[in-house]
């Protein structure tokens, strides 16, 4: 009897072991999984369907993805703080955006300083706001950049070098070849080659990949790549910041709402720091009202061909 109990216990133990093993087998092969990643971003609750759609143009200074990353949060802010549903409208060139303003395809636009100055009279454009930089002043710089290990220490070292530039419709695409070379008694022929690229970031990539020796980009882009292999060789004189511009037929009510919303930003306050943390860095330090005259100095510079500071 005792022996039978022992054998039965053994068989039972083996059966339990096999049952566990079989269950484990089934469980191991049952790979049903559902993972929802955590996201700090909340689903937008703002009901935009009822609001009037207003298009906000942006010059094509960056790739569409980068533009949306830096400018869509600005649109979200406006959507929340105005009575309109703002949508970004990209273009394939700087001047296309200026034309959109003139044609009222967009009510307002982030224009480049250079394109604004060169087209404002042609298209009857009105600057309404200009962004502040980190120091609180409404200027930016163009930056001559090279790689960290480059032998170029000053603008005089770029002789015989390959130069990469952004759009010819951007200030940074014109500053060096048209003005700064002359100021330093150099000319375009002293360079091995000069090539324009659609976006500022493309200029940086060309330098990092070794296709070009130096390049010019906005200081905001150059700063982005410091400690990532890029070094600033020289900065331009301060240039009035890229303005927010209205077209000749833009709705004054919309312009007012936009102006009020942007001017209410106090970058020193934590509340606004939280709001602007995902904005394009060029727009995240607040705004000032802009006037036609603010850009006259640049107009004079352009007209003088670089001889006037």
């Amino acid at each position: 009897m005792k022996r039978v109990i022992k054998i039965a216990s053994l068989i039972l133990a083996l059966a339990i072991l096999l049952a566990i093993d079989f269950t484990a087998y089934k469980q191991a092969l049952n790979i049903n999984t559902l993972i929802v990643e955590t996201s700090e971003e909340k689903v937008a609750n703002t009901n935009l369907e009822d609001k009037e759609v207003v298009y906000f143009g942006v010059v094509s200074r960056f790739s569409p993805h980068i533009i949306y990353n830096g400018y869509q949060p600005v649109m979200d802010y406006l959507n929340k703080n105005t009575n309109y549903n703002f949508k970004l409208k990209l273009s394939n060139s700087y001047e296309e955006t200026a034309k959109m303003l003139a044609n009222n395809e967009v009510e307002v636009a982030f224009l480049g300083t250079f394109i604004y100055v060169t087209t404002r009279d042609k298209y009857n454009l009105k600057c309404i706001l200009k962004p502040l930089n980190e120091d609180g002043s409404p200027f930016f710089h163009s930056a001559l950049v090279a790689t960290d290990n480059s032998s170029i220490k000053s603008i005089n070292d770029i002789k015989g070098k390959r130069l990469a530039l952004p759009s010819i419709q951007a200030f940074s695409g014109n500053w060096l070849p048209k003005y700064e070379l002359r100021r330093n008694n150099l000319s375009e022929s002293d360079l091995s080659s000069i090539q324009h690229f659609p976006y500022h970031h493309m200029v940086i990539r060309q330098i990092l990949s070794g296709n070009f020796d130096v390049g010019v980009v906005k200081d905001r882009v150059a700063n982005e790549f410091l400690k990532k292999g890029i070094r600033i060789v020289q900065l331009s004189d301060p240039v009035p910041g890229s303005p927010i511009v209205a077209g000749p037929n833009s709705d004054p009510i919309i312009i007012k709402e936009i102006t009020d919303a942007f001017l209410s930003i106090d970058p020193k306050k934590q509340k606004y720091k939280e709001i602007t943390k995902n904005w394009d860095i060029e727009l995240s330090y607040g705004f000032l009202r802009a006037n036609y005259e603010d850009y006259d100095q640049l107009t004079k510079l352009l007209e003088s061909g670089g001889t006037e500071k």
Partner: protein, 496 residues
């Protein structure tokens, strides 16, 4: 003699079973833990890879979607080309699809899927989160797939979702192979562990077997001890103590033999005491005769013829007394063990002669049926006398006046038999099992030591024989002693 137990009941088997079970359960648990841990890692890695692919692929898709939105229809063929190219180049892709914010398919690597509105678990979840959603499940048509949904959105702007599904069957196969390999690994580890344990236990049990062999060889009579080398382990320690035990056992055995010898002696003296009246009677009769002869010789000092006749009578009386004393001495002598050829019939006659007076006095009839062809057996005659004396005295005590004692000898193939039977009151059934116990007696105090039958049984067994009791309560009692013809005297010498 060493008895090796059947394997399933051996110590080795028990240890193997218990430790083996423990190791098996432990290894089983560990292998399952590793399997599931590994399964999680495999799934995590595969999901991570698919998520990375999806995330990376979503960037050019997002750019294309932005261009499309900005009225640049040239990007639509580029978007479709990107999807098809990706589906061709990346292994195990089940499908790639892009849906708009209304969950309508706007691009798919399978052209038939365009414009379908997707409604499933992921679309439901995606309505409440802006994060990436991944899942592995069994698709009704595609079997097991891994599906990752990446919202195409930037800040508050959404263009829909990119969903990439990868065939998950290879993952399941990898997990299946992992399961199999873990089992093989477990079996190998268990086998190696059990082999090592088997070897170690074998060494241990060999030491025990050696110890058992030594125990079998113990001879407490010789005081010669096994003096083999012992190890330094627990078995060596046990062996060392066993040797000590062996010595103590031998000493105890010697003390027991001494005590037994004293018991024998006491029992014999008790028997002699009981013979005293008979012996006195045997001696008194010839003494009276001698005294009468001496008196008659004194009365007729010159009658030479009478003197010769009386001297013969005196001589006969002295011889008779000498004979009685010699038998008594022969019975009572505390001699050294002496194995000789013994004729049991003669021994019986001698003992009957010593008891003749008592038997006559009580009117007990002795019926002898002694087989004249009884062979001589090797035995200690003095001890055999003691057995017969004890049996006859027991019958004597059990009988009243005019009782009957039958004494028989006989022969079988290998043994000789002595039967002593009386027609007394018999022995109650409940007492029969205790009758051979030392100091057990039914007699009144002072009439018996209770050692007679116990001592007799000891002597019989020492001669390699056996002693049996057959009794019908109220009727008769019969003791049968069986002794081997060839003898068995290994231990007989120590019974005195």
């Amino acid at each position: 003699m060493t008895h090796i137990r059947f394997f399933p009941y051996s110590l080795k088997a028990k240890i193997m079973l218990s430790i083996g079970s423990l190791i098996a359960i432990l290894m089983f648990g560990i292998s399952l833990y590793i399997t599931f841990h590994w399964q999680k890692l495999i799934l995590h890695n595969q999901l991570h890879n698919t998520q990375s692919i999806t995330r990376a692929f979503s960037i050019p898709i997002l750019d294309a979607m932005i261009y499309l939105e900005n009225d640049n229809e040239n990007y639509e063929p580029q978007l479709i080309a990107q999807i098809n190219d990706f589906a061709e180049k990346v292994e195990n892709i089940s499908y790639i699809m892009i849906t708009n914010d209304q969950d309508k398919v706007i691009a798919h690597n399978d052209i038939t899927q365009y414009n379908h509105v997707i409604s499933d678990t992921i679309t439901a979840i995606q309505k409440n989160t802006t994060a990436m959603v991944s899942r592995i499940y069994k698709h009704t048509e595609l079997d097991w797939i891994m599906e990752v949904s990446q919202p195409l959105k930037i800040a508050g702007k959404s263009w829909g979702n990119l969903r990439i599904a990868i065939d998950a069957k290879p993952i399941r196969k990898e997990i299946f192979m992992l399961f199999i390999w873990m089992h093989i690994f477990t079996i190998i580890v268990i086998s190696i562990s059990l082999s090592i344990i088997y070897y170690m236990i074998g060494r241990m049990t060999n030491s025990l077997n050696e110890l058992v062999k030594n125990i079998d060889k113990i001879d407490v009579d010789t005081e010669e001890f096994q003096d083999k080398e012992v190890g330094n382990d627990e078995i060596g320690y046990l062996t060392h103590h066993f040797k000590s035990l062996e010595k103590r056992l031998s000493q105890s055995h010697q003390q027991l033999l001494n005590a037994q010898s004293q018991v024998f002696r006491a029992e014999k003296l008790a028997s002699i005491g009981r013979l005293a009246s008979g012996v006195a009677h045997e001696i008194n009769n010839p003494l009276n005769g001698i005294r009468n002869c001496i008196y008659s010789i004194k009365q007729e000092p010159d009658n030479k013829e009478l003197h010769d006749e009386y001297f013969d009578l005196i001589n006969e009386g002295v011889n008779h007394m000498e004979n009685v004393v010699k038998k008594l001495l022969g019975f009572s002598r505390h001699s050294q063990p002496n194995i000789t050829s013994v004729n049991l019939n003669n021994t019986i006659e001698t003992v009957l002669h010593l008891l003749a007076y008592q038997m006559d006095k009580k009117g007990i009839d002795i019926q002898k049926n002694l087989n004249p062809n009884l062979p001589e057996i090797p035995a200690d005659n003095s001890l055999i006398q003691e057995i017969i004396m004890n049996l006859l005295l027991n019958s004597y005590d059990a009988l009243g006046n005019n009782g009957l004692i039958k004494i028989t000898t006989d022969i079988t193939q290998d043994d000789v038999l002595i039967c002593v039977e009386d027609n007394g009151t018999g022995i109650p059934k409940e007492l029969q099992q205790d009758i051979f116990d030392p100091f057990y007696t039914t007699k009144d105090p002072g009439e018996g030591t209770g050692l007679g039958l116990s001592v007799s049984l000891g002597i019989v067994e020492a001669h390699g024989g056996k002693m049996e009791l057959f009794s019908n309560p109220g009727d008769n009692t019969k003791f049968t002693v069986t002794l081997p013809i060839k003898g068995s005297h290994e231990n007989t010498t120590d019974r005195r």
